[in-house]
Subunit: 235 residues, 2 copies
């Protein structure tokens, strides 16, 4: 559960070598044509050591999945935002940043998950963990009024989907500005779930419920204000 499997995380630790060896072998021979013995041998360790570090042969492809989920969970636990959805989008940014930092490794993984059904299934069920994490958070931050459970689920799913969409675009080399795309995608998601202006729709909260959401505002408020005014008037 914790990343403390190897206390002295040095560069060429057993774990690191196994991961590297696995990726190399999977890329050249394919996933199913590579045995765990092959990986262990190339990493210079025994078979037992491999299964101590990774529960299954597939897990070596997603080495820090658990730690990422954990950090997302921490981030959400420490969040005190006005809107739960925005907090979740911020947490999702953490995940995106991780993949971007991985660089080529993330692209290699994408190649593998695209071609090997078993790995794709694994990745999907991993994504579901993020969805579950988001969902439980949103649930606690939303009331239990009727209709909200489904809404919460839709929200959690939408964030994951939007994140994956942007990530995939980047993995395919179809964008060079993933963070900006991410911001736009998350803005679209937030807007999607925004309560409607004409008060006709179901479950509109009190009149004083004006919500303002700001994403990635390093700039001063005064800098943004003119644009803000412009947007408001054109609406």
């Amino acid at each position: 559960m914790e990343t403390r499997a190897t206390p002295g995380a040095e560069r060429g630790s057993s774990r690191e070598r196994m991961i590297r060896a696995a990726y190399e072998l999977f890329e050249q021979r394919g996933f199913e044509r590579t045995t765990v013995d092959d990986i262990a041998a190339r990493a210079g360790v025994g078979r037992t050591t491999f299964f101590r570090a990774f529960a299954t042969k597939e897990d070596v492809i997603f080495p820090d999945h658990d730690s990422l989920v954990a950090s997302v969970r921490e981030r959400l636990a420490a969040a005190t935002p006005s809107a739960a959805l925005v907090a979740v989008t911020e947490a999702a940014r953490l995940v995106l940043a991780h993949y971007l930092a991985e660089g080529d490794l993330a692209r290699a993984r994408y190649r593998l998950t695209s071609n090997v059904p078993a790995l794709r299934a694994r990745e999907i069920s991993g994504q579901r963990q993020y969805q579950r994490t988001f969902l439980t958070f949103i649930r606690t931050w939303m009331g239990d009024e009727p209709g909200t459970p489904l809404r919460a689920e839709l929200m959690a799913d939408a964030v994951v989907t939007a994140h994956n969409h942007v990530l995939r675009q980047w993995l395919r080399g179809r964008t060079t500005t993933p963070e900006a795309d991410f911001d736009a995608a998350m803005a679209a998601v937030v807007e999607l779930f925004a309560p409607r202006s004409p008060a006709a729709t179901s479950g509109t909260e009190g009149a004083g419920g004006t919500q303002v959401v700001l994403l990635r505002t390093q700039r001063d408020l005064d800098d943004v204000l003119p644009e803000l005014k412009r947007v408001l008037e054109q609406g």
Copy 2:
């Protein structure tokens, strides 16, 4: 050895017996404590026959998954609606109807997938197939204007999520009117993606990538400003 008096496909075909045997054994001994040999023996067939009918031990839990996906695909291929989203919700109704018809079998499956991680993963990747099917359909029925790919993905995902939500409620015995719930859920999804009148969004690609999203802005900007400032400062 079995004296088969009636030729041809009789009620208890090999396939049916294997499915029944598998469910019984999984329920009483658990999934991992049941071997394929056990299932085959109880069904009165050889091990080879089992693997001819089901590619993996897990597949016996989802016997008609492929045929269901196929029928959904056919339904969509034959659809000529004005709105793609509505066509997809109608196709999703097909899936719900199937599970409802299964009755106790569906509930037994739910019990298994809830307790066995391997089966849960399998189910999730199966659901992803529906999502993919819906997605490709929605994509072809929507133009390729920028921004639509993400929107299409969100739609496909929302339909699957809403379907699963209602189905799960029924599987847990928390509702006796699943069809009505389904209609309500799908209506919520459709409404979610309905074009909205007065909301305003601005995706600004400034130096810092600042983005501002305003929700429910009936009030004057000056009224909102203090709150805006407060939010900004606490960030």
